[in-house]
Amino acid sequence: MRILAALLMSVALASPAVAETVLIQNGRVVTNGAAGIIENGDVLIVDGRITAVGANIAAPRGARVIDAQGRFVTPGGFAAMSEIGLSEISGSGAPNDASVEGDLISAAADAGRAFDPSVTAIAVTRMEGVTRAAIAPSSNRLFGGRGALVSLGGEADSVFGERTFMVVDLGETGANRVGGSRAAVWPAFEAALRDAREYPSRYRNGQGGAVLNEIDAQALQPFARGEGTFLVHVESAADIRRLIAFARANPRLKFVIHGGAEAWQVADELARSRIPVIIDPLSNLPDRFERLSARLDNAAILARAGVRFAIAPGPGSVDAHQARLVLQLAGNAVANGLPWDVAFAAVTRAPADIFGVGNRLGRLERNYLADVVIWDGDPLEVQSAPTVVFIEGVEQPLVSRQTRLRDRYHPDRLRELSSRTAQ
């Protein structure tokens, strides 16, 4: 334990506390903006922000200059759905703040207030080029709770979007939580919205909520008024159509779908509804009845229809440790017909846009926060890895508990250990 603490301390000390002025030169700069991909491009970082992107930018006095040697220079990855920071170890009876059980709290659960920037998964994840995440709690009720947006810089103030979205299950899982039938899901959801809108009066006059307790009604109220986004777990075409109809009837409310394995079937309706979808490009098995038509080219079909979407693990696959794999997911979407730039945007710009921070994250453009990654290859290729990672202009050490274990048991060192055991 003391060794671990010392190790973490040394990692913390290794990271520069302040943002530098840095000029990255000669990169294959993926701007995610109007400029597209700039060959032999430069990116200037000052005080944690990007101040210039283009060709032949002059280095300011005192700037550190990094020659990218023609390699990819990109915005940091944004895990559009994760439980990172909500547990050090998910199972084994270890503390797990991702999962809320019991009757006290559901909609009121607040992921941002459970997030711990010091969990080891954060260093593991950012050194693979993912710098931001949307994190969501889950409960065993209709509402999972309130999600947050976090930086993976490991700083005390990593939560940059609190109570940004409300998780609600309106598919198979939701049905199981309200008596086992979809016939109960929508009435329960509508009753919860009424409870929230009529908070606090119906609770003060003794009437109480129809389905929500006072704490949950209070938490749901801003979302029921259209002040936050509902992140809705639905997979089947039928459930997606019901959501589209509900959204049309309730134009003030904001929705994003998480799941959407059968979204391809209703791609045109989704495009018209402007409801964005967070999809998992590996979902291709009829493993649930709500995913019977799941297919690998879901993303490609949605892109052709003009649906806004991001890429992340699907409901049931979201975890606290593998947010780094969103880039592999995007690469697999490319293997199944999605254009590269759309796939890359789906794990960088699209999540930022969906969660309302697309004006400062997800692009390499002037005034954007300087989450910038230099790669040793194509970032959507499984063999590639970052060589340099900046979060808000601060270079991150490419060190984690995993790299420390790697170094301790490296084959060269194992030979020494082996000879010692033999003596």
């Binding site: 050090e88 170890i89 998910s90 199972g91 084994s92 270890a94 080891t120 998964a121 075409a237 059968e262 079937q265 590996l282 291709n284 098995l285 009829p286 493993d287 649930r288 009845f289 019977l292 038509s293 975890d319 606290a320 440790h321 593998q322 794999l325 592999q328 690469g331 697999n332 490319v334 293997a335 959507l380 290729e381 499984v382 063999q383 590639s384 890895a385 995993q402 790299t403 274990l405 790697r406 048991y409 490296h410 084959p411 194992l414 030979r415 250990l417 082996s418």
Partner: protein
């Protein structure tokens, strides 16, 4: 080697069984229960030309040809010719042996995953060595066709890991459209026994206030069971030698005695290095072999020991942290086991992961290289075919592109150790079982509304 041993053992067992019935006519020989009825699909002689070939044995060859005939590899080399063979121009493509997944639950935990189909673990008592997972395999699992699209030509189905002894595992061919599991059984492949270390058995049974509830309870459970099995095996041997009656048939003991005799290969779910070392001592105490540790998240900590003991490690590329025994997972686990001279295997344990094991090997290869190891693409492919074949006792039948072996071959659109490569054509015993864009539709999926609409 192991397959040869197994065949000899099986023959000896049959003879012994005949002796007890005192009839020697072949017609009266007891039928092997649930015998394989697998027959290779019809094939034509096929010459794949001008590909980059990873032979599964560590080699990589540019502009090479692969010739298959009568279901077997005839030759690989430059400028092969074969009269009458179907010629496939594979210029720009890669050709490899079919991938072998040493750890799958397809069919036993099929899609759709509902209560009634969750058939993979007889978690009713800590020792269920008597169950055979093949009796839970549903041949119509839509996952089999997806696995083939990922280049899988052989897969080992294991029961779950809630028990100390989970039961017998079975090596299958992904025969799409098979009506019975017998049609899928890899001919003459040895059975395996699934055992489990660590927190799964102690959590499941300890949670029911029964043994094992601890690591020491686990070890006591293994040792007592093998002590009992040794006694059973001795009584069997004495009866075979004409000394006394054989023991009453006991399905649990038959499986454990099979492990002691080396006929049944032990596949042991074990995450932690210290627990693997204890397992190795148990194997020494009762004189049996461990074929592979599965998951083996800490194999890198004892890579030297595993190499010395010639025990394979079947691993994920980068899974970690989902429980405390997986906390020390590192991305270099597979390459470190390889670098120590050990038998490293990339396994899936997942109906999703089995569809792209090549990408998992690619990650492990890249991470190993970044850690300073020199590993070739050809060597990395041994993790996907030759080494799992070894752990399953079928390396004399498949796993490498060696003349005489079964022609299990995949043509990839590009270097398969990348994200964008896809399997274009898959051959099993020389017969094409998959071509990209023409996937098999399982019985379960046939006639579903979306499919009918799409057609």
């Amino acid at each position: 080697m192991r397959l040869g041993q197994w065949t000899a053992m099986a023959a000896a067992l049959l003879l012994a069984a005949c002796a007890t019935t005192s009839t020697d006519t072949p017609a009266d020989e007891p039928r092997v229960p649930f015998a394989s009825t697998y027959t290779p699909a019809p094939s034509t002689p096929t010459l794949i030309r001008n590909a980059t070939v990873l032979d599964g044995n560590g080699g990589e060859f540019a502009n090479y040809d692969v010739l298959m005939r009568d279901g077997r590899i005839v030759a690989i080399g430059a400028n092969l010719s074969a009269e009458g063979a179907t010629v496939i121009d594979a210029t720009g493509r890669f050709v490899t042996p079919g991938i072998i997944d040493a750890h799958s639950h397809l069919g036993a935990y099929p899609s759709p995953g509902i209560q009634a189909t969750s058939d993979g673990n007889e978690a009713t008592q800590p020792n269920t060595a008597e169950v055979w997972v093949e009796h839970s395999v549903w041949p119509h699992d839509p996952g089999f066709a997806r696995a083939v699209a990922g280049g899988i030509t052989t897969l080992h189905i294991l029961p779950g890991s809630a028990n100390l002894f989970g039961g017998r595992g079975v090596t299958l061919r992904p025969v799409l459209g098979a009506r019975t599991v017998q049609e899928m059984k890899f001919p003459d492949a040895p059975y395996s026994l699934k055992m489990a270390c660590g927190e799964n058995p102690s959590r499941v049974y300890g949670g029911r206030n029964s043994s094992p509830a601890t690591g020491m309870g686990n070890v006591a459970g293994y040792r007592q069971a093998f002590a009992n099995a040794a006694r059973y095996a001795r009584r069997q041997e004495r009866a075979e030698a004409g000394e006394g009656d054989p023991p009453d048939r006991d399905l649990e003991m038959e499986t454990l005695a099979g492990v002691l005799r080396g006929e049944i290969l032990l596949q042991w779910h074990c995450y932690r290095a210290d627990e693997m070392a204890v397992a190795i001592d148990i194997a020494r105490e009762f004189d049996f072999e461990i074929s592979a540790f599965h998951h083996a998240v800490e194999a890198y900590k004892i890579a030297d020991l595993l190499a010395e003991e010639e025990i394979c490690a079947a691993m994920w590329a980068d899974w970690w942290g989902f429980k405390i025994e997986a906390y020390d997972g590192i991305r270099e686990n597979i390459p470190f086991v390889h670098a120590a001279g050990g038998c490293a295997i990339v396994h899936s344990d997942s109906e999703v992961g089995i569809q792209r094991l090549n990408q998992e090997a690619a990650k492990a290869l890249a991470d190993g290289r970044r850690a300073g190891l020199e590993i070739s693409r050809g060597e990395a492919w041994t993790w996907l075919s030759r080494n799992p074949a070894r752990a399953l006792g079928i390396e004399d039948e498949t796993g490498t592109l060696t003349a005489g072996l079964r022609a299990d071959v995949v043509i990839w659109s590009a270097d398969p150790l990348t994200s964008y490569a896809v399997a274009e054509r898959v051959f099993m015993d020389g017969a094409e079982i998959y071509e990209r864009g023409r996937g098999h539709v399982s019985d379960f999926e046939l006639g579903q509304t979306y499919r009918e609409g799409a057609q």
